[in-house]
């Protein structure tokens, strides 16, 4: 029998035993089994350190959960990569050697795939390496960014997300810095700010659209936002949502038809004739001053009410 299978049997046994009164002993056995499964020992990680990491992860995502829930949650983590990341963060050389062998070149490839440019990719990857190693110190201790890896996804995926976040942050920072000389050379005209649009916007149209958007599912709104705001292709949207692009195409068409139908019905219910409702839909959108962000955020899950700064 393979090692992984043996560990799985052990974890199952421990889960069964977790219903017994000797909770502490069972928890210890379970953590030991998970530690063996992670292979943290070969990275210089101790059982106590690993147990602390597991508790940290459980406190973040399932605070106040029972032992059985914790065991189930821990069993779904990427334990081996979690142990590697935390060993690296702790400064163990074997872990860093393993990390560099496995992820150094991948990190450059990830950065190159995001920036589409080699020098920028090198710059981005090197800066991230510094963060991963921990150049900054907090309370006299070196702080590594790998300490924020929780093992919910693969370490490679986490690195890709971190690189993407860093790239987006850099882009937004640079976007704010505009060279007026360069813009003048490019012929950009600096005119006075346009006055706020004042027009014959009908409040009933905004209300009808608010109502229609409020009835949309989150994934439908995501599809609409990715298509109309981010100008993503159907393939990209399909990969984000996790469905085929043809499904996205059909869903978009269906969404637009449904939205128009709902808006028309809403306008009619608000006293408009059908002809007036069609005319209202043709009104220039610049005349519409309806803030729908509140409507779009009303159904947000409370799962992200926590501060992002916790990581």
């Amino acid at each position: 029998m393979e090692k992984g299978s043996i560990l799985a049997v052990k974890i199952d046994t421990i889960r069964t035993m977790s219903s017994m009164p000797r909770t502490a002993e069972v928890g210890l056995l379970a953590v030991r089994a998970l530690f063996e499964k992670s292979g943290g020992e070969r990275y210089g990680l101790t059982l106590e350190c690993f147990s602390t990491v597991l508790e940290q992860v459980a406190c973040k995502y399932i605070p106040g959960a029972a032992n059985e829930q914790k065991l189930q949650f821990w069993g779904e983590l990427k334990l081996e990569e979690l142990a590697l990341a935390r060993a690296c963060a702790a400064g163990h050389d074997p872990a860093w050697q393993a990390f560099l062998i496995r992820f150094r070149e991948k990190l450059y490839d990830i950065a190159r795939g995001i920036t589409k440019e080699d020098s920028s990719a090198r710059d981005l990857a090197d800066s991230l390496y510094a963060d991963l190693y921990g150049t900054s110190e907090r309370e006299g201790r070196r702080v590594s960014r790998l300490n924020f890896y929780m093992g919910r996804g693969s370490l490679e995926g986490w690195l890709r997300t971190v690189v993407a976040q860093e790239f987006v942050n850099r882009y937004r920072k640079q976007k704010r810095l505009v060279s007026l000389d360069e813009q003048a050379e490019e012929g950009v005209q600096f005119s006075a700010a346009e006055p706020a649009p004042v027009g014959p916007a009908d409040g009933r149209l905004g209300a009808a659209l608010d109502e229609a958007l409020g009835q949309l599912a989150g994934e439908d709104r995501l599809v609409l936002a990715a298509y109309y705001l981010d100008n993503r292709t159907l393939t990209e949207i399909g990969r984000v949502v996790g469905v085929h692009e043809s499904t996205i195409s059909r869903r978009l068409e269906k969404l637009l038809k449904g939205l128009k139908k709902q808006v028309m019905a809403g306008l009619v219910s608000r006293g408009m004739s059908r002809g007036q409702a069609e005319e209202a839909l043709e009104v220039d959108v610049r005349y519409l001053q309806v803030d729908v962000s509140r409507k779009l955020q009303e159904n947000r899950s409370a799962a992200f009410q926590q501060d992002k700064g916790s990581d």
């Binding site: 996804g153 986490w158 997300t161 659209l209 709104r221 995501l222 839909l281 992200f304 990581d311």
Partner: protein
């Protein structure tokens, strides 16, 4: 619905202005890898729908597609076939396909018998095979060269057999049977000697002769103006009808003056005995079809004539008889190619003759088989050398005007010939009692043509041009036909 799209874009963009709390990279990674439980995934999706920054992060953190990854590295060398598949090569390939399709469209309808299939086609082939074997025996038993038909083959019977709905398809013409006849053997050296030695020159001369000769026009008029094969393909009855001049109405031909015809057709008025009535010729206007350029650019026909193509005669679908025999196909290109291998065809005919005894005894088939003695091109080529004359009420023909052979030997012939005109293999002969005979194969097979009940006198002039035939009798009757003698109209004279 662009108005709704713009409206949506504006509203959604307004919703992006608020900065919400973002999920951590671990959660986003788990979302991308679809490892999140359903409730948590729903929350992430709700956040992504209003957070452009997180949507960007998620879009960037998606694993690279294989194609995209390859684009970032060294270019993969193109394969041989992909390099070969250049736009120029594609265009050349397209042009080649178009050329082949055009050649097929032009050439395939010229061999309609090749597509004949079914019971009637098989029956026709069987009958033809039986006659192939019978014909050499008849020819060898005859003292006279087989230029005329046996006396017992009644033309009326033949006509009945052709018009009968249950009649089998006409037996295809076979070249090998004709080659075994003494007449053909006698003629062959002379005909061959008349041609230049090189086959290429022969082809060019044949094309030149065909385009110049009015006889060629008469022989190919149906083929060029009435595409019966388009309707008769895979239909033995239709092909049979076409064989018997049961043609649809011909299109209006061009009007041409008589001298124009006479200049191009020296043999039209029969040479020796039949001096045409110039009065009639001057008064009447002949219907002259446009002379088509036949197969000038047909590479396939040239190759076939040069003997470079030998079609397998054992093919059940397209038999040699089917290729050589067609009511409309006087061209007979493939048939002439099949002549290159007569022993094979003769052997095949002998094999088939064992099962065709019943058909061997059929007069119709026997006569058909006797007529099927050469490919159309060979018949046309041979008849083009024929000279015709009427002397002492008898009809004669000759290759080089010596010797003269009796072209119509009939014991029951109760008339005397008075006029003959020939257009290549298409021969019209008239005689007393308004008797009019027509042969499409250079005098091998004669068909009686009935002018009308009121026809009288002897034929004094025949002007044939394509499908248009004009006949004058000694009683000053002027008969004309625009469908190759199928129907006649009395234009002037006694009723």
């Amino acid at each position: 619905m662009p108005e709704l799209s713009n409206l949506l874009r504006q509203r959604l963009e307004a919703g992006e202005s608020v900065s919400p709390v973002h999920p951590d990279p671990d959660t986003l990674t788990a979302y991308v890898e679809q490892l999140l439980p359903a409730p948590e995934r729903k929350g992430v999706v709700s956040h992504l729908s209003v957070c452009a920054e997180c949507r960007e992060v998620v879009a960037f953190s998606l694993p690279q597609l294989p194609e995209t990854a390859l684009q970032g590295h060294a270019a993969v060398p193109a394969s041989f076939w992909s390099r070969l598949w250049t736009p120029g090569f594609r265009w050349a390939g397209a042009m080649a396909v178009i050329a082949v399709a055009a050649a097929l469209v032009v050439e395939l309808p010229r061999h309609p018998q090749g597509f004949r299939s079914g019971p009637q086609g098989a029956q026709s082939e069987t009958a033809q095979t039986a006659q192939d074997v019978q014909q050499p025996k008849t020819a060898s038993a005859s003292e006279q060269p087989a230029l005329s038909r046996p006396a017992d083959t009644s033309a009326d019977k033949l006509t009945e057999g052709r018009t009968s709905a249950s009649a089998p398809a006409p037996p295809p013409l076979r070249a090998e049977a004709h080659m075994q006849q003494p007449g053909f053997k006698d003629m062959q050296p002379a005909a061959v000697a008349a041609f230049p030695a090189k086959k290429e020159v022969i082809v060019r001369q044949q094309i030149a002769e065909e385009t110049k000769s009015a006889g060629f026009i008469a022989g190919t008029a149906k083929q060029d103006y009435v595409a019966n094969y388009l309707f008769a393909a895979n239909d033995a009855k239709a092909a049979y009808s076409a064989y018997d001049n049961n043609l649809p109405q011909a299109p209006a031909p061009q009007l041409t003056s008589q001298p124009g015809l006479a200049a191009g057709t020296p043999a039209v008025f029969g040479g020796i005995s039949g001096t045409p009535d110039t009065t009639i010729n001057k008064k009447s206007k002949l219907l002259m079809p446009f002379t088509p350029l036949k197969h000038l650019a047909c590479i396939f026909c040239k190759i076939a004539d040069l003997g470079l193509v030998k079609t397998a005669p054992s093919s059940p679908g397209i038999t040699s008889s089917a290729l050589t025999t067609s009511a409309m196909d006087v061209h007979g290109n493939v048939g002439s190619a099949l002549l290159k291998d007569p022993p094979t065809l003769a052997a095949a005919a002998k094999e088939k003759s064992g099962s065709g005894g019943e058909l061997d005894r059929s007069e119709v088939f026997t006569r058909r088989a006797a007529a099927a003695t050469a490919s159309p091109r060979l018949r046309e080529g041979a008849s083009a050398q024929f000279h015709w004359k009427v002397e002492d009420g008898r009809l004669f023909k000759s290759l080089d005007q010596e010797p003269w052979l009796d072209a119509y030997q009939r014991a029951d012939a109760n008339f005397e010939f008075s006029f003959v005109t020939a257009h290549g293999a298409d021969v019209w002969a008239g005689g007393s009692h308004a008797t009019l005979l027509h042969s499409r194969d250079g005098g091998t097979l004669w068909e009686p043509v009935r002018l009308g009940d009121s026809a009288s006198g002897k034929i004094v002039s025949i002007v044939a041009s394509g499908l248009s035939i004009q006949v004058q009798t000694s009683t000053h009757q002027f008969w004309s036909s625009s469908d190759s003698g199928k129907t006649w109209i009395l234009q002037s004279g006694q009723e």
